[in-house]
């Protein structure tokens, strides 16, 4: 079943290249997404057997992140249907600089999309550090063409930065893998295989110094992919220039994959008695990421960049959560953040489609122009900043409680301070956009005709974010027992509570 | 015995209060070397006004007409908690001094509102000053009364549930004996000073206000009631007289510490005190000029400082 989960999207992706009918392609996309989701659900119900000598195995963290990825992908695929329908496939004008550009071919786009899903699935099920590395690098490569979907200068720049920085980062992670291999070399002829479970078993025998060095390299390497500051620099560019569908997946699913990769190393560290070493580093990176995110969300002029920096903030929170030992909170936060950020990017796509503008200073009156999207935009803001009854409130509270229970007052202070600053900064951007009389619309006539020109919101653009909104609302007041169980298991796996 | 006096206090105030402005005016006339008004001028004025009809501004509403009525009613109610010298008031209860002060607040509130109802700039001006000065006068009055309540009482470390340490006005004044003066004379003197200043301010006497001036720009109380006429104005005059009576009684109670138990002696002493205070007010009005308006807050702050000092002394001293 695990193999099916990986191979299904890959084969379907390759097949995409050969399908000429747009309808069939889109149907295939939906079918794959749905089947993938159903298989994932089955995996949640009954843990599937390990394959390839335990290289591919679904443990609790993997199950959790696979679940997020699959669910988000299903919703995003639904949105993508509407998105691809809306897209104008000919040459058209860029709304910022005015030059002409076109899109890459839909078949390539969908192919990469499915390959991307396959690679992310591979990350979640891999137990071998080498395989994890291969899969993570593969996600970078398959997602690069997705970012360059709109073929214009800015997206090209973003893609370039994305490949360059992430490749360098991942290369460092490869070195980290080798270091880990050195650490696991017991003598000339005996070494521990690079499987997570085996390394944990023989963790006491590992070479501490090499293990630490390996952790540093892997943290910085995968941290680049995860978007921890100061390695996050590619993230705002890639998220703002890619289509919203892709931004949602990058933020909601891809970051988690990198996070999972770091958690795997942390697992080994904890088993080797070096848990505090890893935790302190993650704590530092977490706080620094929040600080950087706060600085750049403040007076941000591009709302998609704002969301991207918010992702930096939230990976910071997740990292900080692991850092203070709040594994449960961090895992819950990963779930909440993925769904919330996915929803926000989808709504941002709707706003962008109506306004043809990304400037937070020009756009006004979203609530009037796009009543549903506006409402979701405001709700998403509240959710992402941790207002109840949305899920992030609970995860942030849990992390705070652990931090204070550990007596880490300075950390708790910084955490709350930065959360507040970010809340204020985002509120100063989101509400002026949502409220007031409409302005910033593409047609410079009276607001009534401009609103009429935008027309009513289509169901395919509204239902996916609504579904996500409902999900985070539910997670804010009710955590299903099955999820609760997996979260607790995952927290135990990474050596926290 | 005491009972009788208690019941007599209110009629006495009703009857004697309008005499006080007369006494003041006669004193001033004496100092100015004039014949002056008759001692009973205020009675004549009230009687005359009661017989007259009234003129109302077209701007005014029922608020204007209600002002004098409510003011007078409040002053009359205040008389019920007012001890005259050592004899208790008809109503004496813990915290009645606050009730008294707030009843005077009601008087002020409705006088001011009635003044504003005319829409006249002059009355507005007077009203504005009235509320300004009361902000400072009210704490001074309450603090000085509180200081007196603490005299000789500051020794119980714990307040028993059944009995409050803090007392009613009547109890306070009943304890202001010669002995109390001997023990804490400074405190009482300071408190009396504060009350005296508040008396001058609240009753619109020189140096705060000049009731006889004819330049409306400088007046406070008189200008607020410019538009009232007939029975309304009679009520205002009467209420003003009663208010003066109340303050004189409060001050006289401190300054005449005759608590012999002999009704005649005690009552006589305090009555003499009340009228001597009226004479004193007259003397002040004769020998002092009106302060500049900007100076008045300083004078009232002085009263507040007196009262505060009194409290500090009484708390430190025992």
């Amino acid at each position: 079943m695990i193999l099916t989960l990986i191979l299904l999207p890959i084969t379907a992706g390759v097949a995409m290249l050969g399908i000429r009918s747009a309808v069939v392609r889109r149907c295939l996309l939906m079918v794959v997404a749905a089947v993938h989701a159903v298989l994932t659900a089955c995996a949640w119900a009954h843990s599937p057997a390990p394959v390839l000598d335990g290289w591919l195995l679904l443990d609790a963290p993997g199950l959790l992140f696979l679940g997020i990825t699959s669910a988000l992908f299903l919703v995003v695929a639904l949105y993508a249907l509407g998105y691809l329908n809306r897209e104008d496939w000919g040459k058209r004008q860029d709304f910022e600089e005015g030059f002409l550009f076109s899109n890459s071919r839909e078949s390539v786009f969908l192919c990469c999309l499915l390959l991307f899903l396959g690679m992310m699935t591979l990350v979640t099920v891999s137990q071998h550090f080498g395989l994890i590395w291969v899969a993570v690098e593969a996600t970078t490569l398959t997602s690069a063409p997705l970012i360059y979907f709109h073929r214009h200068r800015r997206s090209l720049e973003a893609t370039w930065k994305y490949i360059m920085i992430c490749s360098v980062g991942i290369a460092l992670a490869l070195l980290g893998n080798f270091f880990l291999a050195v650490a696991s070399t017991l003598s000339e002829n005996s070494h521990v295989p690079m499987l997570v479970s085996r390394l944990i078993q023989s963790a006491p025998q590992l070479h501490v110094l090499w293990l630490k060095a390996a952790f540093l390299f892997l943290l910085v390497g995968y941290g680049t992919k995860l978007g921890l500051a100061p390695m996050h620099t590619w993230l705002p560019d890639a998220h703002s220039e890619s289509p919203s569908v892709i931004s949602a997946l990058l933020s909601g699913a891809l970051l988690n994959c990198a996070f999972l990769a770091i958690l795997r190393v942390q697992q080994v560290c904890v088993a080797a008695g070096q848990g505090d070493f890893g935790r302190n580093l993650m704590l530092g990176f977490g706080l620094f990421s929040m600080l950087i995110a706060a600085a750049f969300i403040l007076q941000q002029t591009d709302f998609k960049r704002m969301l991207a920096y918010s992702s930096v903030e939230h990976v910071g929170i997740m990292s900080l959560g692991i850092g203070v030992g709040a594994g449960y909170g961090a895992m819950l936060h990963a779930v909440n953040h993925s769904l919330t950020k996915g929803m926000l990017f989808l709504v941002a796509g709707n706003i962008l489609a109506a306004y043809h503008n990304k400037s937070t200073r020009d756009i006004k009156g979203v609530l009037t122009v796009l009543p549903f999207s506006g409402l979701l935009w405001v709700a998403g803001f509240l959710a992402i900043t941790g207002a109840p009854p949305f899920g992030i409130f609970l995860s942030e509270l849990t992390i705070l409680k652990v931090a204070l229970d550990q007596g880490r007052f300075a950390v708790a202070f910084g955490y709350l301070l930065l959360l507040s600053v970010i809340f204020i900064a985002m509120a100063s951007i989101v509400f002026p956009m949502a409220q007031g009389a409409p302005s910033g619309l593409p047609t410079e006539t009276s607001s009534d005709t401009a609103i009429a020109a935008v027309g009513r919101e289509s169901a395919l653009a509204i239902i996916p974010p609504m579904v996500l909104c409902a999900a985070i609302l539910v997670l804010g007041v009710y955590i299903p027992p099955v999820l609760q169980h997996v979260l607790k298991q995952a927290a135990v796996t990474v050596g926290t509570f | 015995m005491t009972m009788n006096m208690t019941l007599l206090q209110i009629p006495a105030a009703f009857i004697l209060a309008p005499l006080l402005p007369g006494v003041i005016n006669r004193t001033k006339a004496f100092f100015a070397g004039r014949q002056g008004q008759p001692l009973l001028q205020a009675y004549y004025d009230i009687a005359k006004l009661l017989r007259k009809s009234a003129v109302y501004s077209r701007t005014t509403t029922w608020v204007f007409r209600a002002g004098p009525v409510i003011s007078l009613a409040a002053v009359i109610t205040a008389l019920f908690v007012l001890p005259v010298g050592g004899s208790a008031a008809p109503f004496s209860f813990t915290g009645d001094m606050i009730f008294l002060a707030y009843l005077l607040g009601v008087v002020r509130f409705f006088t001011v509102v009635a003044a504003l109802d005319t829409g006249s700039p002059f009355e507005g001006m007077g009203a504005s000053r009235e509320v300004q000065f009361s902000v400072l006068a009210e704490p001074a009055l309450l603090l000085s009364l509180a200081a007196m309540s603490l005299i000789g009482n500051f020794h119980t470390a714990e307040i028993a549930p059944s009995r409050s340490l803090f007392m009613s006005l009547s109890e306070i004044y009943a304890r202001l004996t010669m002995n109390a003066w001997a023990q804490s004379g400074t405190v009482l003197l300071l408190a009396a000073g504060a009350i005296a200043i508040v008396l001058l301010a609240e009753n619109c006497r020189i140096p705060v206000d000049d009731p006889t001036t004819h330049l409306e720009l400088t007046m406070i109380h008189e200008v607020m009631v410019l538009d009232h006429s007939g029975p309304d104005f009679a009520m205002i005059l009467y209420a003003a007289a009663l208010k003066l009576w109340i303050f004189c009684a409060l001050l006289a109670g401190v300054l005449t510490p005759v608590r012999s138990g002999n009704l005649l002696l005690d009552t006589g002493a305090v009555m003499v005190g009340i009228f001597l205070i009226a004479v004193g007010v007259g003397v002040i009005e004769s020998i002092m000029a009106r302060l500049r308006l900007l100076r008045v807050p300083q004078l009232l702050s002085g009263a507040g400082v007196f009262a505060l000092l009194a409290i500090v002394l009484v708390l430190r001293g025992q």
């Binding site: 071998h128 080498g130 395989l131 590395w133 291969v134 690098e137 593969a138 970078t140 490569l141 690069a144 063409p145 360059y148 073929r151 214009h152 200068r153 800015r154 090209l156 720049e157 973003a158 893609t159 370039w160 930065k161 490949i163 360059m164 490749s167 360098v168 290369a171 490869l174 070195l175 080798f178 291999a181 050195v182 650490a183 070399t185 017991l186 003598s187 000339e188 070494h191 690079m194 070479h207 110094l209 090499w210 060095a213 705002p236 560019d237 703002s240 220039e241 750049f296 941000q300 960049r305 | -």
Partner: protein, 217 residues
């Protein structure tokens, strides 16, 4: 010092020299050739280090490495270079002589760090770890200090070479599947970068990264 160890040391010194050459030359085609040479040398390293009896998988891996790093990548890059009409790296952020000086400094740093990391199993040459670290740093330095997109890809390749040097000599027990997967990924990365350079050239008419700095805050 045995015969074989001498050969290893010679190889390592050659690798270090290729790094210095890369940092010192401005002609891009020369740089590409240097990197190609480095790839070939790197591919040869496990063959020499193998005590005479060389397992089959090592032969395959070395072959693939030499093929990819010595032939395919340079060919890809040279093609991109030709289409873009670019010859030289003009005005790098850090000048050539400075780059050389920094490189020398980096050798020292690499030596120090190599000394701080005692290996659990004794190596054929104590220079391998410093070499690997130095190559990685050179690659990073190239990425950071050069303006042309191609130079950055070269930097990435050098860095990858350094990592590879480390991996080949230290962790030979890695399963072959992983090794191949790794190589495939690197190949794909360079391939995608090549495509990106192609698009950059089409979009901007040259491959300077200066114009790729419009997305900022």
């Amino acid at each position: 010092m045995t015969h074989m160890e001498l050969w290893i040391d010679i190889l390592i010194v050659l690798l270090i020299l290729t790094n210095l050459k890369l940092m010192g030359s401005s002609r891009l085609s020369a740089c590409i050739r240097t990197v190609a040479l480095q790839g070939i040398l790197l591919g040869a390293l496990p063959l020499i280090a193998g005590h005479g009896q060389i397992p089959f998988r090592v032969v395959i891996l070395s072959g693939v490495t030499i093929l990819l790093k010595g032939v395919v990548f340079p060919w890809l890059l040279l093609r991109a270079l030709r289409t873009s009409n670019t010859r030289r790296e003009m005005e790098p952020f850090i000048g050539y002589s400075t780059s050389m000086l920094i490189s020398v400094g980096l050798i020292g740093l690499a030596m120090w760090m190599g000394g701080r990391l005692p290996l659990p199993v004794p190596l054929k040459s104590p220079l391998v770890v410093p070499l690997a670290l130095f190559t990685i740093m050179t690659g990073l330095l190239a990425i950071v200090s050069r303006r042309k997109a191609i130079s950055q890809v070269l930097g990435y390749l050098v860095m990858e070479n350094g990592i590879y040097a480390f991996g080949l000599t230290l962790a030979q027990k890695e399963p072959m599947l992983i090794e191949l997967g790794t190589l495939l990924d690197v190949f794909m990365a360079v391939f995608v970068m090549g495509i990106a350079i192609f698009h950059i050239n089409r979009e901007f008419d040259h491959i300077d990264t200066d114009l790729l700095a419009s997305l900022r805050d």
